[in-house]
Symmetry: C2
Subunit: 587 residues, 2 copies
Amino acid sequence: MASPGSGFWSFGAEDGDKDNETENPSTAKAWCQVAQKFTGGISSKLSALLYGEAERSSDTGTKEEMDSENKAMSSHYDKNACKCQKGGCDFSSLYSTDLLPAKNGETDTLCFLQEVMDILLQYVVKTFDRSTKVIDFHYPNELLQEYNWELSEQPQTLDDLLLNCKTTLKYAIKTGHPRYFNQLSTGLDMVGLAADWLTSTANTNMFTYEIAPVFVLLEYVTLKKMREMIGWPGGCGDGIFSPGGAISNLYAMLIARFKMFPEVKEKGMAAIPRLIAFASEHSHFSVKKGAAALGIGTDSVILIKCDERGKMMPTDLERRIIEVKQKGFVPFFVSATAGTTVYGAFDPLIAIADVCKKYKVWMHVDAAWGGGLLMSKKHRWKLNGVDRANSVTWNPHKMMGVPLQCSALLVREEGLMQNCNQMHASYLFQQDKHYDLSYDTGDKALQCGRHVDIFKLWLMWRAKGTTGFEAQIDKCLDLAEYLYNKIKNREGYEMVFDGKPQHTNVCFWYLPPSMRNMEDNEERMSRLIKVAPVIKARMMEYGTTMVSYQPQGDKVNFFRMVISNPAATHQDIDFLIDEIERLGQDL
Amino acid sequence: MASPGSGFWSFGAEDGDKDNETENPSTAKAWCQVAQKFTGGISSKLSALLYGEAERSSDTGTKEEMDSENKAMSSHYDKNACKCQKGGCDFSSLYSTDLLPAKNGETDTLCFLQEVMDILLQYVVKTFDRSTKVIDFHYPNELLQEYNWELSEQPQTLDDLLLNCKTTLKYAIKTGHPRYFNQLSTGLDMVGLAADWLTSTANTNMFTYEIAPVFVLLEYVTLKKMREMIGWPGGCGDGIFSPGGAISNLYAMLIARFKMFPEVKEKGMAAIPRLIAFASEHSHFSVKKGAAALGIGTDSVILIKCDERGKMMPTDLERRIIEVKQKGFVPFFVSATAGTTVYGAFDPLIAIADVCKKYKVWMHVDAAWGGGLLMSKKHRWKLNGVDRANSVTWNPHKMMGVPLQCSALLVREEGLMQNCNQMHASYLFQQDKHYDLSYDTGDKALQCGRHVDIFKLWLMWRAKGTTGFEAQIDKCLDLAEYLYNKIKNREGYEMVFDGKPQHTNVCFWYLPPSMRNMEDNEERMSRLIKVAPVIKARMMEYGTTMVSYQPQGDKVNFFRMVISNPAATHQDIDFLIDEIERLGQDL
């Protein structure tokens, strides 16, 4: 088998992580091995493709090239790779003006895009390689000084741009890495990624059917399916994909207000009574953000008490609604949470729906994090009652692993969004177009232009089927239970709340050996506060794994483990625990 | 030179458009020619790469294969291509579960992603090929019926997914096509596209430095540079990339309100006086949408008169501000427009700034469309006075050709956004992290998660330099002037407003021969209303070009031509005029 030309493997050369270098193959080597598995000899072909026959024939250089991987990327790249002619393209003398739409720019364009693609494919393979770091951490001032990121008058060569791409990925967090547990959105789905590349290439806007015919139809089909899964009869209703859960929640509050007092659209808040919204103590901060933005004010968001598992207490909700009414204010919006951010708690939706019905209050369910469980026959009971909601936020970019961003707001009543938000812009929503105007969905949005977020979700759904999403989600929940069982009685661990986790959130303190026999007093607490931040900082500096921590109410800093990455396995959970103990034992 | 294997060219097979088939090479042939230009023989290599040596050796098949291009894509694809083994991967028996993170999934993953990439590369080449259609138009119900877009329980094969991708692109609008003039955002920048692919691959979120170190720094660098170009001393100030111009404008209004009445955040609109916002009659509808959402109400947005060129009249602004104050209301926000949506007018910013200063009103400049002209030494005078604004919306996804979405809101006063929007979510913005927390920008946003929109702008800026953006923008403005000069005295054309366009908007009526000698009465007007919609509908059905039309005030439907696509040339302008005349002559 022919060997790769020089420079081809240069990206990530020094990523043969310091810690792993001797035990594991460097990632570049791993990549080599991967490429060599191709039955069609893709390795040599890709190499030839990029460097031309002349370079390819210097096969004898292999050994030296493989060694040179371990030198620093930038210098290696500068000295060896930049000057290569790749597929006939000398990127060091080419500029973006040589690419399409330049005359005869096809060759250079294809070469350039293929070269970028190779960089990305290497990153993808490395993402799933446990011997690579999750993060190559640098402090902001270091990173600012280490490279020249400035924008200047003059253009850079394509070679420089390729280096920019490599450098950017070198310092990126591998959010798809099996040991990245830091956020609710983790993982890198291959079909979702492909779909997002296609979306970028199609480069259009959701506001009219005219310029996004397929995407508009796919949004229609997918929202309907999601409403069916919520349980609204026939999948009827409305909805939109919005730029994230916070905006979806804001939409819900906006529509709820309009439903109760449509005059607010023209007259503003001054013309209507004081409105009060309700959400639990554990709810997401976006409910307050939304209230501030909408001119309702954060003081008009009442936080309802939770039980020890972080679930809203419907009795407290009812009590507070009655109080508010007695004051002459108008309860207009209850945001129940299906999967809280920290504990992963599911509010009791049926009891909350009963209260909302009794007092005629809009019921919103913020299922940004928990919505994915609707895919699972085993777990969907946790959202029982969601069908009684007036609106639901559901972020497929969280538990379903769709690339960021992908958040849906679903509304039971059709036409309300349109009435609430429409401004009839005549330059966009002409009424004398030649097709069915109900597909011009832009006027129901708060935005004008709207990014295409649908294709990646739709294509992933086609790829997996509902059963595939179900398997993926069930697996993540099983892993969370595995983690819980592993640490609940383990020395040095304390659970933040008792009982099996309802979602994949597992919240716990790690106690270093020196603290295990301390009395539960202030000194202990003041030391415990610092444990998680120090372990987290060390994790990031070693780059081996990432997990979040935070305080909650009177509970000091604890780890919040979440699992949404289909790449994670039992071994990765074991690794996390080992790593916490390794990094925290001396504290 | 070896010829391609069967199926490789199959995408777009029937795109050898009916109209052009005899005069021009079909696009598949054009693509062949492109591939054959590669010095390294990329054509045969790619072919070999995808189909393996065995298939490649059947070179004799060329003639038949080239002919078969002209058969319908779907059947061709089904019969010939689907069963091919590509680089050793038989996609018809593979599923997404065979891809990474599947064990030993590297080979199948790389094959699949490379196959998707080839589909995208073909689409890119076709985008710039004038012999392809801008759009292959189908009515919504046709498109819904023609394919099965439904989501089901069971997974599809990778082969099916590839077909989904091809079908989606087949019906997509080629927004980068040199003859696509339909929106303010047109064009497909190769570097921007590559950068967007990388962004998808990095799949992260802007809220903290922790998970987006490089992107956060690039946003910092780029926003500073944009503020420098606005003319704020030292580039000081604040800003954020938001999901589109409408949201950027909403941010501006939100911050202006908070600046004047910070208590609104907690107390809501009920606690403060009635606020009034001002924008011109020609301003974007998002000002009203924002006012409705923020609880201010659309009745509290006063539309200021414009002159015949669509520019706000500062004398009318002052008069209305005085009126409002006399009523005891509080003028708090003036949105001047730099580049209106329809006429491309630039409001007189210096005079407006004087009025705002006199009455202590927040001055916002909606330069979503016109901001790009700040890049041009020749045209930036049109924004003179923008440095006196308190906030500026500037969408690089419009005049600068950055892929969607890329919109910046820039604010002169630092810290205001943070104070206005922060909610101190402890699970995300921990105060005991080990790095400089000023880089955790998430709490200044209304959103929680925020899509990475910065990399494509930053990389394009590196690629072009400021001078490159300048050349690109100047060229578009030159083309608009060319169009204006061409039609201003041409038989059958009437300009909507007199004089050379200030931006690339050229607004005109086309009069079919049958209407040219009609008196200017109601009958003429009722016929004229229908001309642009009919021509537009025909353009879309032929798929040859796309341009927008709309009424404005008492002016009935006219064409609004805009040029933001660097791929457009004088010939494309000529083509548009010919096409309007060809499609409209019988009306």
